[in-house]
């Protein structure tokens, strides 16, 4: 099982123009291709940079490629074309599983390649452009990739029937072997014949009870290459003539270059050019170390007149002042004010959430090669259509002159899904300004990454709730203040309605609990700090505010936190389902040893339902130690349960790291953190034991990359609240003292 990234091969197959292809076969293949793809964007044969390809050689022209998602070749390989970036979430494995299932391929014959940028063929069916985010990768492809596999299988079966003079219904395919009576062949043996068969309009999909791959845990396609250092990320793209560039970036958000002095930088061995681009000052060198030293040696005078000069303290203070004023309504049920008047008890809590950097372990990077007439780009592109468009705009080239190659990415967590494609843009600016045809690799340092903005925004919340004399919640008023992630992006028209950025209130405005009088209000504020979605987006803060508040209220009401929730979830069986499952598996209600506390939270995001129960103790120094997290998820059909479990484990670790210690702070506009010392992340010794349980389901699959992340913070906070009585209202948790109060 191998995986390569060289999409040049694919464009070759799809356009069917290899010079050595036999004309008659070419014709039939081309007909097959054109029939399906219509007048879609047709790219030229990519000329791979020497040494940059993933290794796969152009396959024989006579392969079965009835749609843009797979190629069955005579060498018996089945190459699944992965339209989404794989940044660790398992997109390649997941999409390959769907094809293998319907094609009845053998898992060992499956290979994967990333698709070229092409919004016609490879768009995300949930967005209309090519790109992935919002945990939509598998969900939008579920039927599409299964149909792709079923189409190829139907054609192979038809070809076998014709060849063997048997009825198609007498041909069987299992584990890559096509057979009928005593006749049998491999899928690949029939690829050429099958390409001449007509493409079925609506091939039948399997009955889920016949699934052999979906719902079973087959090994990832990328484990071996990634365990042996063989996988090539963007940073690993190399050619003999490649240049490496770094950028001296503004020390304040919104500052621009006034003047710069490159004399010291130019003395550094390897530095060949220092030039200004809109994003800062670029240092181009023949090697990485030269580019890194050069970046430090350039002296820049900045124009800070338009820059954000506030510190995070000032920003938070300004936001908090708005908590006293009504915001724009995101949801309004019943009459909250009237309900507060009749409530037996009214309780209020404010919450503060800091800026968070994504800090994928591979810092942002992008390779551009252009001769001024055409260009090729290699990067871990999460939004191919936007990145491709940005490159065309900067380079002044037509779409067909620019090829974007998607490369395995060393994490993203949202950071590479960037509407303004700034890391592609700046790389194109450098290549253009430099003006030579050598490829240029632009790399960010960790400092560039941590200080570079595009954070999860700061938010402050206030939840005021009223309980009746029986301890039922009769009023709930939730106010949120923060920056809009979506404003100014191409997603604005879809995701901002009536001036409410859905991503600011998601997780709060759809609170599932049966509360008759409920409002959710939003103040959208402006700050000069660029912000972005961070794994699970709005839920990163709304899940905590709502679920921690529920425990605060449960305690006031003298109720058990699980029962308290279940009583309000009668209309939301999937929430209730995961909650009950987690409670059962965690042994909710059993007595805990001294010094151990237990907390629960449940939350839906990206159409998946997750409940978590955290067992927490305190270290000597009073900081929380999360020992165990039991996680139940309902994500519809779990295409690969082990990948689902891995995403829960990883999502929990990611959320927990931020909960415990994640914060980007600014003083007079300057970011105070720069690397993993100031912005520390979860480490091995802090990783809890995670147990994942999946609710069996026949519903269509929903997201798993994000939904595990937001739930751990309130689950841990609720454990600490139950054990110490301390509320976690300011994040990260280092802002609270949990010790000695109970």
């Amino acid at each position: 099982m191998t995986a390569s990234t060289h999409s040049g091969v694919l464009t070759g197959i799809f356009t069917m123009t290899p010079a050595d292809a036999a004309p008659e076969k070419l014709q039939s293949s081309r007909r097959t291709f054109l029939k399906l793809s219509g007048a879609g964007l047709v790219l030229g044969m990519a000329a791979p940079l020497p040494g940059m390809s993933g290794g796969a050689e152009a396959k024989a022209a006579e392969a079965l490629a009835p749609n843009p998602f797979l190629v069955v070749a005579p060498d018996n390989t089945v190459t699944v074309i992965i339209k989404h970036l794989d940044k660790g979430q398992g997109a390649a494995t997941g999409l390959a599983t769907l094809v293998a299932e319907e094609l009845d391929a053998d898992w060992a014959q499956i290979k994967t390649e990333f698709a070229p940028a092409d919004p016609v063929k490879y768009k995300n069916l949930a967005f209309g452009v090519q790109g992935v985010g919002g945990s939509t990768g598998l969900a939008n492809s579920y039927e599409q990739y299964r149909l792709a596999g079923a189409t190829a299988k139907a054609m192979i079966v038809a070809a076998a029937a014709r060849k063997w003079s048997v009825k198609a219904s007498d041909v069987k395919v299992s584990k890559g072997i096509v057979s009928s009576g005593d006749k049998s062949a491999k899928l690949g043996d029939l690829a050429v014949l099958a390409a001449a068969e007509s493409i079925p309009d609506k091939p039948a999909l399997k009955d889920p009870k016949d699934f052999v791959y979906i719902g079973k845990s087959f090994p990832r396609v990328d484990s071996k290459a990634k365990s042996t250092g063989a996988t090539k990320f963007t940073i690993d793209q190399q050619t003999d003539d490649m240049l490496v560039a770094t950028i001296v970036r503004p020390p304040l958000f919104g500052a621009t270059v006034k003047t710069f002095d490159a004399s010291e930088a130019e003395k550094i061995n390897g530095v060949i050019k220092v030039l200004q681009i809109p994003q800062g000052v670029a240092v181009i060198a023949t090697n990485t170390w030269g580019a890194l030293q050069g970046q430090r040696a350039v002296k820049v005078t900045w124009d800070e007149s338009k820059a954000e000069k506030r510190g995070t303290d000032e920003i938070v203070t300004a936001y908090k002042a708005l908590l006293d004023k009504p915001g724009l309504p995101a949801r309004k049920d019943g009459d909250v004010e009237a309900a507060f008047k009749t409530a037996n008890k009214v309780i209020s809590a404010d919450f503060e959430f800091p800026y968070l950097a994504h800090a994928p372990l591979e810092p942002l990077d992008c390779v551009v090669k252009t001769d001024g007439k055409t260009a090729e780009i290699w990067t871990g592109s999460q939004m191919q259509t936007l990145d491709h468009g940005a490159a065309c705009a900067v380079l002044g080239l037509k779409p067909e002159a620019v090829q974007l190659h998607t490369v395995w990415a060393g994490g993203s967590f949202g950071r590479r899904a960037i509407a303004d494609s700034h890391f592609v843009r700046e790389a194109c600016e450098i290549a253009k300004a430099y003006g030579e045809p050598q490829p240029v690799k632009v790399m960010w340092t960790r400092e560039d990454d941590i200080k570079g903005g595009w954070y999860r925004p700061v938010y402050v919340h206030r939840i005021k709730a009223g309980l009746d004399k029986d301890g039922n919640i009769v009023a709930w008023q939730h106010r949120i203040v923060g920056q809009s992630i979506i404003a100014g992006t191409p997603f604005e028209s879809v995701m901002v309605k009536d001036a409410i950025d859905h991503s600011s209130v998601e997780g709060a405005s759809n609170l599932p609990y049966g509360i008759a009088n409920l409002t959710v209000e939003l103040h959208t504020e402006k700050a000069g700090v660029p912000v972005l979605w961070w794994r699970s987006v709005g839920s990163t803060h709304t899940a905590h505010a709502t679920e921690h508040m529920i425990d605060i209220l449960a305690k006031e009401a003298g109720r058990d936190p699980v029962d308290f929730r279940l009583a309000m979830l009668s209309k939301h069986p999937r929430h209730a389902g995961v909650l009950k499952l987690a409670a059962e598996k965690a042994g909710w209600g059993s007595k805990l040893p001294d010094g151990k506390f237990r907390g629960v939270a449940v939350h839906e995001s990206f159409k998946s339902y997750v409940a978590q129960i955290a067992d927490v103790s305190l270290r000597e120094d009073g900081t929380p130690k999360v020992e165990r997290v039991v996680c139940a998820i309902d994500c519809g059909v779990a295409v690969n349960p082990d990948v689902v479990a891995a995403q829960m484990e990883g999502g929990i670790g990611y959320g927990l790291g931020a909960a415990l210690k994640g914060a980007i702070t600014m003083k007079e506009g300057r970011v105070e953190q720069s690397n993993f010392d100031g912005y520390d992340v979860l480490r091995m010794s802090e990783m809890p034991k995670v147990e994942v349980y999946i609710v069996p389901s026949a519903e269509a699959p929903t997201g798993v990359g994000e939904p595990g992340t937001p739930v751990v913070l309130p689950a841990v906070a609720n454990a600490l609240f139950s054990g110490t009585g301390v509320k976690t209202t300011v994040l990260p948790m280092t802002k609270q003292k949990y010790k000695g109060q109970s």
Binding site: G229, T231, T286, W289, G653, M684
Partner: protein
């Protein structure tokens, strides 16, 4: 003995090549011409084209660049080329032996990887640990692996894979 010229260093303005440094890389003697203060990480990646060793922080804070120097796990972003003269450097591309085989087999068996970017460093750190302690406890693992960041948070599987590898190795 292979002599690898520095990546394009002959084209620098100064026209100067660095000094020659000779060391053993993955069991083979190599000579590199580069500035002696160049971090080993960039010598490996740029000059020797071994890109399995990764850059994550450049400051000894993440472990993505972990290699073995005379059999011990070190951060190659903190080691200068001059420090490896006449010494043994092993990278993910060249790591061999029972322990490495057991570690990589366990990694694949448990599908440890997600994005994979940290995993060369994790594997090298794990091999380093098992070379010193055949049956590490959870505490041993915490101590040896805390410097290796995984932003995908695959820690639980890394821990399990180290135990799994230990099980398959003779005591």
């Amino acid at each position: 003995m292979a002599c690898v010229p520095g990546l394009g260093r002959n084209r620098t303005k100064q026209g100067m090549a660095g000094m020659a440094t000779t060391f053993s890389l993955n069991g083979e003697k190599r000579t590199v011409e580069a500035e002696p203060d160049t971090p080993l990480l960039w010598v490996l990646r740029d000059d020797l084209k071994l890109t399995g060793t990764k850059f994550g922080c450049g400051a000894a804070l993440c472990g993505a660049c972990t290699v073995h120097l005379d059999g011990e796990a070190v951060r190659s972003c903190q080691i200068q080329l001059r420090d490896v003269e006449a010494r043994d450097v092993t990278t993910i591309e060249g790591v061999k032996g029972d322990i490495a085989a057991a570690v990589q087999a366990a990694w694949i068996k448990l599908d440890v990887v997600q994005c994979g970017y940290c995993q060369s460093g994790q594997v090298m750190a794990a091999v380093g640990l098992l070379s010193q302690i055949r049956k590490p406890t959870d505490d041993d693992i915490n101590k040896a692996m805390d410097g290796n960041v995984c932003r995908c948070n695959t820690y639980q599987r890394i821990r399990a894979a180290i135990h799994e590898a230990a099980k398959t190795l003779p005591g």
